[in-house]
């Protein structure tokens, strides 16, 4: 999909991953240094959102600071049982992301709930549903990262 982006789109993605101004006409002020008109910038952002190149445009919240709770957890699932267990795990609304990874622990997912207590409830529910031990990897500390991808 990367080839959907032309050089201008790439400049937009690289330039606008943060620092969007809090002023009355912010798109106008960031369009100018990119050599674009405000309407062209808005049209390109709309197109990139529609294509899924951007998942969103706006404030990125630090979810833990909102009072919600998160947990990275993993299961070791037998290959023959993988699809059934994936469907069970995905059926919980608390499961936000779920990835298959190459390892004995082959299913890694993130639980997101409004309270820490609800995390424990979801873990117990997952163990009951799947009959497997949930390996919990709570975040003990987060190290600073830039989090900017080069388009």
């Amino acid at each position: 999909m990367a080839e959907l982006l032309d050089a201008t789109d790439r400049r937009i993605v690289n330039a606008l991953q943060g620092g969007f101004p809090l002023c009355d006409e912010p798109f106008r002020s960031v369009a100018e240094p990119l050599g674009l008109s405000e309407s062209e910038l808005l049209a390109r952002l709309r197109a990139m959102l529609a294509q899924g190149v951007l998942s969103r445009f706006g404030p990125m919240f630090q979810v833990e600071r909102l009072g919600g709770a998160h947990l990275l957890a993993a299961l070791a699932v037998a290959e023959a049982d993988f699809e059934r267990v994936a469907a069970l795990v995905n059926s919980l609304p608390e499961v936000a992301h779920n990835y298959r990874r190459e390892h004995a622990l082959n299913m890694w997912f993130v639980l997101a709930t409004e309270t820490p207590a609800a995390i424990a409830v979801a873990v117990a529910e997952l163990e009951r549903l799947t009959g497997l031990a949930v390996h919990a990897f709570p975040k003990e500390r987060e190290y600073f990262v830039e989090m900017r991808l080069q388009a």
């Binding site: 809090l22 405000e38 969103r56 990125m60 990835y99 298959r100 190290y143 388009a151």
Partner: protein, 149 residues
């Protein structure tokens, strides 16, 4: 916050559009967003790219076993590498899981991820007692953040 959950309106005056929706002035919307940025509640405002759409299709969770009294100093240095998108300390689960430092690495293909993991290994040197890279091979579920009202 809820008003911006789906993103900023893509109109010439987005804060005015939000203000109209929220029944406050545009200046008040800007002031509140500035305050949330300052407090860290908002990490940043701007474009949130989709890794896969940008061609970052190889995604490796590199996990490292480093001494507990060294992990914080080293974690800061690993997190500062440009290609590391998340870096956390997490508990070991002995004997099954010996790793306490997690660094997420993205690349266009596995060879690129492996080269980046090699740079982390070089940075950690003898402080890394063991490591593995867990590649994701399938997205089983991915839902956006939902905030309760």
């Amino acid at each position: 916050m809820l008003a911006t959950q789906a993103g900023l309106p893509l109109v010439p005056k987005p804060y005015h559009a939000l203000a109209a929706e929220l029944g406050m002035s545009a200046a008040e919307v800007q002031r509140r967003l500035a305050k949330m940025l300052e407090s860290g509640l908002i990490r940043r405002i701007g474009a949130v790219p989709n890794h896969y759409a940008l061609g970052y299709t190889a995604n490796g969770m590199s996990v490292w076993d480093v001494a507990d009294d060294r992990v914080d100093a080293l974690g800061e240095r690993v997190g500062a590498l440009a290609f590391v998108t998340h870096c956390y300390r997490r508990p070991r689960q002995l004997p099954a899981w010996r790793y306490n430092l997690f660094a997420m690495v993205h690349g266009a293909h596995r060879a690129e991820v492996e080269a980046q993991v090699g740079r982390i290994a070089a940075l950690l040197g003898a402080d890394s007692r063991a490591h593995e890279v867990l590649y994701s091979t399938r997205i089983l579920k991915k839902t956006g953040l939902r905030l309760a009202g």
